[in-house]
Amino acid sequence: MRKLTALLAGLLFGIGLLLAGMANPTKVLGFLDLAGAWDPSLALVMVGAIAVAAGPLAWAKGRAQSLLGAPMQIPAKRELDPRLIGGSLVFGIGWGIAGICPGPALAILLSGHWQVSVFVLAMLAGMLLFTALERRRSH
């Protein structure tokens, strides 16, 4: 059952990204271009998503188990550290270059555009690089 809800949640997430306009890099860059002709649409994506998700997430926070008996895994860490800020900075630069972030990248991977394949391969390489560096650090 949990496998089914996971698949369904992922599908719904992708449909939401497509409907919202998040899956169109040109629109994302239009949102990030404050000094040009600014398209504020994507701010509303966040408003819509947070309005719906805030209640369920707050409810989940106080529970040990999900409705289907899975352990509730919500990050409890609160400290700010250089990795959080440095990583987010690097991510934001990459986002600003192409207008693509991880969710939309996967949601349009099978849409038939070669550009997204290049982006996703590079993104996976970046993630594997992180893993390799982390393993080296811990040895």
């Binding site: 949990r2 496998k3 809800t5 996971a6 949640a9 992922g10 997430f13 992708g14 939401g16 409907l19 919202a20 169109n24 890099p25 239009g30 990030l32 404050l34 040009g36 600014w38 398209d39 504020p40 649409s41 509303l44 966040m46 819509g48 947070i50 309005a51 998700a53 997430l57 999900s66 899975a70 509730m72 990050p75 860490k77 990795r83 959080l84 800020i85 990583g87 900075l89 690097v90 991510f91 934001g92 986002w95 600003g96 270059i97 192409a98 207008g99 693509i100 972030c101 991880p102 969710g103 996967l106 290049v118 982006f119 996703v120 996976l124 390489a125 970046g126 993630m127 992180f130 893993t131």
Partner: protein, 148 residues
């Protein structure tokens, strides 16, 4: 039309579909936490699946659902416009930075921007502010300082 020096692109402004799409994203994140007990953060899920962490099957199925979205959409309607602004080199550099950055920063637009901000997590608020600011500055530099 200009508000405080910012020129709004009314022609491309899509308030209703963006709000509705956002609500669907919020609903998906809600289902995932209510039933699976997990945060719908795409970079975290992807990184964890790559590393072979716990819950690989559920995480992989969420990502599979995400991958299938355009195919399911295509059964009912024509896909919305997907237009790229970058060549292969830009895509390559951007992908690398997004991959490395989201893993060091423990999240992206979904995990921090939607789920974390919804929970008012201090880490997610700072991360979201940081990557949004970096995105705004990067586009400004590339479009208005370097390019034309």
């Amino acid at each position: 039309m200009s508000i405080d020096g910012v020129a709004i692109d009314w022609l491309n402004f899509t308030p209703w579909s963006s709000l509705a799409g956002g609500a669907l994203i919020g609903l998906a994140a809600s289902l995932f936490v209510l039933f699976n007990g997990r945060i719908a953060g795409i970079s975290g899920l992807l990184g964890s699946v790559l590393e072979g962490g716990e819950g690989r099957a559920e995480k992989g199925l969420f990502l599979l659902g995400l991958l299938l979205a355009p195919l399911v959409w295509g059964l009912f309607s024509v896909l919305p416009t997907i237009e790229f602004q970058s060549g292969w080199l830009g895509l390559l550099v951007a992908g690398l930075l997004v991959g490395v950055g989201t893993r060091y920063g423990s999240g992206c637009t979904s995990g921090h921007g939607v789920c974390g901000v919804s929970r008012l997590s201090p880490r997610s608020l700072v991360a979201t502010f940081t990557f949004m600011a970096a995105g705004f500055v990067t586009v400004f530099v590339l479009r208005h300082l370097l390019g034309g």
